[in-house]
Symmetry: D2
Subunit: 342 residues, 4 copies
């Protein structure tokens, strides 16, 4: 059976591996100063025009988040995040390990808004016995698959600028967000409306790797030192550059993400048609479905989907699709449900 556990169950998109193969014996300079990294950055920057930015390639999502957040904050400055945010829950205290508190608020559908942030700001107004909120962290798509539209991001940005807050977007699943149906958000918007953000490769066709895009001038200055200090500067930096070069050639990054979304939305539609209720209003490659215990248990075992939540009455299961998910896998899963008589 096909596993719907996550979007990093396979290796890399073949185009990525092929480029690694083709260039394998070319010698190049280390630490990300090679031509492949430079070309990859150019391709990404083209999509952000007219905005300009510095780009760094690092190994993973937690590394990208902790590195960039710690680099821009002074010791007493804190992060604001949704309580469901990845940095709050599933990064083993990586942000706190760099010395910074995260202030959280419960956010419906995992999305922050000015209205949700305001009370945190009020509670910390000019009181040096408390931390000073300085950076807003959001993820797009969020941990439950929801997305921010261009308008929502622009509005958050405006609010942040008024309050002298920096805005960072964790884009571990940015591809899914940018290709979500009806979402008008573009890579150029991302650059226009944030201080810095990440573009996730791991969950969208790379072997590993995230791009950090940095517009903020304070953060730009000497950022490379921090990349090194946090253990994020690979000797063979080209390995990251080559992967992003493959992903941002001929729109592969978006093709991959669109495919993942499409399969997820076929699944969603199929589930709704069969009368299942959804736990989150996701338009991307993670779908959260409410199931009775008996069926849930079987699906977890057979399709390795993740148990997201459990109550006495029912379970919430997470199904994740990726660039590698065959259409047929969705068909088979839905067919299986039909035969289950549900």
């Amino acid at each position: 059976m096909y596993s719907f556990r996550n979007d990093y169950s396979e290796g890399a998109h073949p185009a990525v591996l092929n480029l690694l193969q083709e260039t394998n014996f070319v010698q190049s300079i280390g630490y990300g100063e090679d031509e492949y990294c430079l070309k990859a950055k150019e391709l990404i920057l083209q999509e952000m025009a007219p905005e300009k930015a510095d780009i760094y390639f690092v190994s993973g999502g937690t590394q990208a988040n902790m590195l960039a957040i710690a680099a821009v904050l002074r010791p007493h400055e804190a992060v604001i995040a949704a309580a469901s945010g990845h940095i709050c829950v599933h990064e083993a205290g990586a942000i706190e390990a760099t010395g910074h508190k995260i202030l959280t608020t419960v956010a419906p559908q995992g999305k922050l808004t000015a209205e949700l942030i305001l009370p945190l700001l009020k509670a910390h107004e000019q009181d040096h016995h408390m931390v000073k909120p300085r950076l807003v962290y959001i993820s797009n798509s969020t941990e439950t698959g929801t997305v921010y539209s261009a308008e929502e991001l622009a509005s958050l940005r405006e609010f942040c600028q008024e309050r002298q807050l920096l805005l960072y977007v964790d884009g571990a699943r940015l591809g899914a967000a940018l290709t979500a149906p009806h979402n008008n958000l573009t890579m150029a918007d991302m650059a226009a409306y944030t201080d810095f953000f990440s573009i996730g490769g791991t969950k969208n066709g790379a072997l590993f790797g995230e791009a950090l895009v940095i517009k903020n001038e304070i953060l730009k200055n000497d950022f490379i030192y921090q990349v090194k200090q946090r253990g994020a500067l690979l000797a063979k930096g080209r390995v990251l550059g080559l992967q992003f070069l493959a992903l941002f050639s001929e729109g592969l990054y978006y093709k991959n993400a669109r495919h993942a979304n499409e399969q997820a939305l076929r699944l969603k539609e199929g589930l709704l048609k069969r009368g299942f209720r959804l736990y989150a209003n996701s338009s991307t490659n993670q779908q959260f479905v409410i199931m009775p215990h008996s069926l849930g248990k079987r699906l977890i075992e057979e399709y390795q989907c993740e148990l997201w939540q459990v109550t006495e009455q029912e379970m919430v299961l997470r199904f994740v699709t990726s660039w590698a998910t065959p259409e047929q896998a969705i068909d088979e899963l839905l067919g299986d449900l039909d035969q289950s008589g549900i």
Copy 2:
């Protein structure tokens, strides 16, 4: 011209890439719990018998060092290292960024001994106004290509145990050390004589990746949390496991290192024959040669070797070979020197 700048100028050994290709569409569980990681660990552990250890795969050398050192020390405990040690100079303060001081001593040929360590211990004896030395860091091979023999390592280990010091070996170039001519040190010795050590993949045929081998029981406990917290836990952990699986199958790791050493020693012999003096007594894949300025400048330009040191009279150049260095590249370099009339 072939570049002798370093041992990470090419991609990966073809066997590594091939294994990534072959397994590319197999789905597996994330975060290093997959079968490839397990098999790779088994292969490595076989070489350490009868010693037992935990093994973790991480992305890079600085990450391996900082992660493991920070995990085992209490806040007031310090590291002892040669002043030339990689963690002291070229890791952008990564160890200090985790809160720990490094106490250094100038070490001939980059190698620590009990005699060199003793004065540091004496100076810090039972004085809580100072840090408490707790861990000895060495690199093998060292930053100048020298190696520790089995006897030297055993002796250092004994000294450390008497003084309740932990012993860590940075093995970014461990392959080179273990295959150096006349060196009797084995992987089993490494396990027997250290508390923890790293096995470098990046500089010996992997795209990227280091294995951390942990015998120390305190460090074993909960170490995986720290891997996550420092941003070192890759979602597609298999990518690291697969590489080490390839490298530790059929002795590829040693073949790679032996090849690199052989080419370096052919270069060394050729240089000595031509009357050049050496800066360090290296028996591994880094060679440090003293050159007049005019010749040095040309070689740097043409062969991209690194300028290691410079005085008014002369230069020290570093030439590095790797698993990928063709025999012919050495021949051409030596031939070039002959034609230079030196």
Copy 3:
């Protein structure tokens, strides 16, 4: 008018100043190894028999908390605290600045129980993508003046031991807790039921200073290094020792606290008699009273009591008494309220 802003508005109890005067020209050794410190520790330890502990004197409450908590935790270990806990809110992120996350739960009356802690433990069970809960932080008396009884503390202790959690009590206002009417908790209980705790001097008659009492063996080992490293080791350590010597001679510490509580409870009774409602069920030297805006504003101005909370309808004011609060100050305040016609 007498200020009810807090319990650190005056200098020190005269006995403290007198002892500083009397001993002023005696020469003694530095850094807390003097005879006054030793005597003060003996006096405190007598009250804890048969328990044994190490005692350190430091300058302030935040320092005591951060120093002790950071010293006992490994990097991935986290603190559990009530959301209202001092370390969560009013220490400017001092705990996070040492690298540790605080997991919070909303606790009625600011008091933690096994029932409140359990869901946090469940949510973090054996998942190394999250921090590992390791230490329970409570304050006694709490931030709203409530107290833990001997039974409550013993029960929490038992729960912690079953779950391998350490228990730390922030005793910035421990005197108030131990002398609260009907509270059966003793200093010996504190030693019996915790791993470490602080005894606040600043808010109970000292110029400044807190005693850290440490039973936990891991924490004992080398703790003095950490005192130094966090900037908490005073050269003239005697200044702290002398103050605790004065406070723990002839029960002055308890007399001071009892006086503060008595005045606060006279105020409480007077307020209840006059029909005011209370915000918290405090039996100690902080009282939280609900007031209409107009009266509240006047009292804040005249008596410098703190505005604790404000809604559209009413205000919550905090009144704090201390060892220095004259009986007459309470009488005058109540008399004033009578004349206000409320």
Copy 4:
């Protein structure tokens, strides 16, 4: 016998204790916002005119150093200090515990100069694999009692400004430096030629306490948050303010230091007259004398002077005087030496 162990063996200058007594029952606001702190700051600022600065009072020297240094540096930035500097040796790794490396150079007489600093800068030029030197730390008077003149400080300042380095002076014994015979350095010079510096109270007549003087605009901004976060914000901040108020009224700070220096220099002269050699060229209240073992051992026992260094042939003893050292104590010590027949 009078103890020459250090300058913090007694309590406080009587004027300090008296002011604490006189004001003891005045109620004031907490956390250093009281009138005594304000007045003390005004007095100190008058001596710095026309320079302006922010002033904070904290508990101790290590706290002052670590707090201020950590507040001004970004994570990858490092400190430059003499190898003998207090922060390098005797602060238990407090600076590294905040994440920053200290780069050291051996400095004759414990004093840094442009010439000594330059090689460190060169070695770290634009290489992000290393830390970035950003702050020069000096102590005045130094750890061996030597002083910087106004010209030396001005010259260091100029060098730092050219190189975009911040300059911090650890003034734990600043009084001794400013009143050293023939030293033309003034408090106004200190303000003119540094980015920030400390004024030591503990070793010059206070019970405890150091003033941090901050001119640097980056550091000024939000500094108070860091004071709180590092546990350095005393609830009864007035206790520090009152002490500095007493010390900076009627020049007491300078009188105290001058007295200490005079006694030390009487001792120095007496020692030289008797044929002893000195280890350091100190013009302040610490004197370092070379002694034969037999005499040295006796003096350590009887006068509690500190054993600074020991070789097979001889010992170096440190004698420290203070505001409290009676003239007679010097006379007796010299008389004792006469009777020893040396």
